[in-house]
Structures are given as structure tokens and as C-alpha cells.
Subunit: 262 residues, 2 copies
């Protein structure tokens, strides 16, 4: 019987080449796999809920791995041992056995990303790695109106890059349930909640929102961008440093282990 | 007529050998002096309100410099030019002409320092450079009782290191108006407000508070420590990373330039 374990992970993405394993770079996935393999004394492969790019942060990334036998130590012990081996900018928040049918990416039903903007001068030294600080003056009223154009079920082809493997999703229809502009210290955060996000979709949308809110593009252009289905027409992606993966939701029944004592 | 200018400065102290110039290290003072000297085309020396140690941060450090002539450019322009030259972990928040009698250190009447503790497991990756996370379990009730023992006007000899130049203040009597334990995300912050602080005094007090709140020392020992006037009896200084210089107050009349138009 297979045993599947869910990891909850927080990381500062500043110093890494993103989540996903790369041939010549240090990634968050590779460091966690190395730590797990070293503790469990077998080669462990983990699957993440979302492949965050270089410089993107996570408050609660989710990943899973599978063992042919039950974990040879308590989940709490694995949690402490992993944090003992990992650098301090990557922290395991939780380890939990789940259903063997659980898949960190494929089972996800809802994700939340936050994109943080610092709109004062100068940028706080303490937020320099965690906020985008656009040089243009941003009109918050127009930013809110522009954000409202992105909610609902739409074809996001214009706002998706093809991934590094060239495997752009054929179906680019996604639903954004909520895109809220929330004021906070130094500026605002954009809260994206959706059923799924295409490669670079959040950063491409933020880039376009900022062009509209700074007056470089008009509000009406957004509708035309959706209809054109052409990535070359959207604005440049906003920088990675402002983006945080905040939450991933799963169906309740997949979050329980079938081996758990009743 | 001399012209004196007050700088308000925020910095992340992680990567610096503290505020004060050192022969072989990069310090915050030296970087700001270099930037000022380069813009004003003369050798500028600045005086800081407090010499923060390596790894200590500042939300609002104050410094001053003096010119024989009025500033050859607008204060707003100098502000922008300095931030253009300085690294992003040091930001000038304000430049303002003040009274020629103003002195960043000697005129200060009141200072606020915050010391931040993370008391959960694990430490958040985003706070790893800005919080101390003690390994011992901290009893918050005892921490508050211990903190109350440090307020008032006392001789803080036991809690002061002699400075690097060996010039320990002869008079170690200081007044702490307030030492509050304030709950915040992940733990608490200790808010110190006083008329002045001796070298390493805040970190030495925090080290002693943590020893008491973790049960290594008893509450009654604090009174005996004050009476002994012996630095060797107090606990080890708490780490630099948790400490922030938050505010420095001055008499109102020194904050105005005598040359300002009425």
C-alpha cells in the first residue's frame, strides 16, 4: 500500500532559481528532495502545487511525496529534521499523511496569490525584496476598475507565457473568483483567488494593470487584449519579488489518510 | 554662518559592520558619508544619534552634517540623489535644515528601541533576519513581570558593555520611561523608551529577561544584578538581528532652521 505525505512549505524565493529542479541551479524543490532523501535514506521525488519562478515567494506552498512503506519516524520528527537540514529561508510548516489519491498540483481546487506593491518613496529597506515599487504614479481608483475586468471565467491566452518546456496549456480558460485591491502599509496588495493560474499569468496581469493605472494604456484596451489571444500584446510581466503564493485548497476527503485510526 | 542638516535614515543592518566607521569594514555611516561627499563635492562627516552594532536595524536613525554654505541644491533633490547612490538596504527618508545647535546624539531627549522575539516553531523565512527566536520556552507572564523591574531611573552599570574604544560612560544612570511587552505576529516585541541607552544596554537587558522568562534565573535576581554593578553577572546579550532603533526625539526649537523664511 502506498503512503502519501503532504508538505506545507514557506520560503523566501530571493536567492533561488525558483521552485522546480533545474540542471545547474539551486532550487527549492531540489533542496527539499535532498533533505528528505538524506533523512529517509532513499531517493525521494516531490511534486509541488505550483512552480514558482525565481524570486517568487511562498507563505504556504504545498508538495507531496510517496513511500512504499509508512514513514519510519513520527511526522513531527520529520518536520524538525527537515528544518534542521534546510537553510533558514526555506521552512517546513507541516508534514501530514494524506490520501494516496492526493496530488499537490492536480487535486488543487483553488489557489490564492498576493502581489504586493510599494507606492511611496522611498522603498522601505525591509520590504525591498518583497514588494514591487513602480516608478510611475499609480491611480488607485483606475487600478481597482482595471482589476475588476479580470474576474470571472475567461480565456487568459493573452496573459499566459508558454512554460519553459514549451508545453503551454491548450485550454487557457480559467476562473478568477476574486481580484481585490487591499490597502496596506506603504501601498496595496492585489489578492488573486482562482481555480488555477497559467504560467506567469499573475505577473502578466499585474504588468497590464500597472500600465493602465499609470495611464500608459486605457481601460478599454483590456477587453481587446482578452479577445486578441496574443501574449505579445499584453504588458511586460511585473517583477517576481512582489509575488507570494499564499494558499492552496483541496477537497476535504483527500486530506485524510485512509490508514488513520478512527 | 554654519548650516546644519538633519538626515532621517532607515536601514537593514544585516550586511553591515554596524553604523560607525571601522577601518576595514563597510559601515552605514561610511556609505552615507561617501554618497554625500560625492554629491556635494567636499568631504562630509556625519554624526549619528546612536551607534547601532553590526546586524542591528533602524526604522529612523538620525544623523547630522554641517556645511559652511547653504546646500547648493534643494533638500528634495539631495534626498533623491542620496537614495540613487546608496544600496537599497539603506534609505534616506528625509533631509531637513535644522538649528546650527542641533546635534544628533547630544541633543536627543528620548529614544525608542524595539526588540522583536519570534516564539513559534518554525521561524518564518521572512522574519529570519529581523527576529530573535530563542530555543527555550518563554513564559510571557514572567517576561512581563521581569520587564517591569527595568523601568524607572537606575544605575545600569551591570547591563552596559564598555564600548570598543574602552570609553565606558562614567555615569551609568539612565531612565527607562517604558518597557512594554506587546504581542504581535509570531511572538512579542519589547518596546524600550528611555532618555538614553548605554552601549549594548538593550541587548543585555533582553538577554537577562529571556533567562528569567525561560526559568534559568529567578525574578529576584534582577534586583541583586542592579546592586552588584558588575557586567559579568548579567546574561549574554541577545542577538543583534532582533533590535531596531525606532525613534529619536529632540527639543522642538532645535528642529527649525534660523534661516527659514517666516
Amino acid at each position: 500500500m502506498l503512503h502519501r505525505y503532504k508538505l506545507l512549505i514557506s520560503y523566501d524565493g530571493t536567492h533561488y532559481a525558483g521552485w522546480q529542479n533545474q540542471p545547474h541551479d539551486v532550487t527549492i524543490q531540489s533542496l527539499i528532495e535532498n533533505a528528505l532523501s538524506s533523512i529517509l535514506k532513499e531517493k525521494i521525488h516531490i511534486f509541488g502545487a505550483g512552480r514558482t519562478d525565481s524570486g517568487v515567494h511562498a507563505l504556504a506552498q504545498v508538495a507531496h511525496f510517496t513511500l512504499a512503506q509508512p514513514l519510519p519516524l513520527k511526522e513531527q520528527r520529520l518536520f524538525a529534521a527537515l528544518n534542521g537540514l534546510l537553510p533558514h529561508d526555506i521552512r517546513i510548516l507541516d508534514v501530514k499523511e494524506v490520501s494516496p489519491l492526493f496530488h499537490a498540483q492536480k487535486s488543487a481546487t483553488r489557489k490564492i496569490y498576493h502581489y504586493h506593491l510599494w507606492l511611496q518613496r522611498p522603498i522601505s529597506p525591509f520590504y525591498r525584496l518583497y514588494r514591487h515599487y513602480p516608478y510611475e504614479k499609480i491611480n488607485l481608483e483606475i487600478l481597482k476598475q482595471a482589476a475588476a475586468c479580470f474576474t470571472g471565467t475567461k480565456d487568459f491566452t493573452t496573459f499566459a507565457n508558454s512554460s519553459q518546456e514549451g508545453s503551454a496549456s491548450k485550454n487557457a480558460v480559467r476562473t478568477i473568483f476574486r481580484l481585490d485591491v487591499v490597502e496596506q502599509e506603504g501601498g496595496v496588495r492585489l489578492e488573486f483567488e482562482g481555480n488555477g493560474f497559467l504560467y506567469k499569468m499573475v505577473r502578466n496581469i499585474v504588468g497590464t494593470l500597472l500600465d493602465v493605472a499609470s495611464g500608459k494604456r486605457s481601460l478599454d484596451e483590456i477587453e481587446r487584449l482578452f479577445l486578441a489571444k496574443d501574449r505579445r500584446l499584453a504588458s511586460m510581466a511585473a517583477p517576481a519579488r512582489g509575488l507570494f503564493l499564499v494558499n492552496v485548497d483541496y477537497p476535504e476527503n483527500l486530506l485524510n489518510s485512509p490508514y488513520a485510526k478512527k
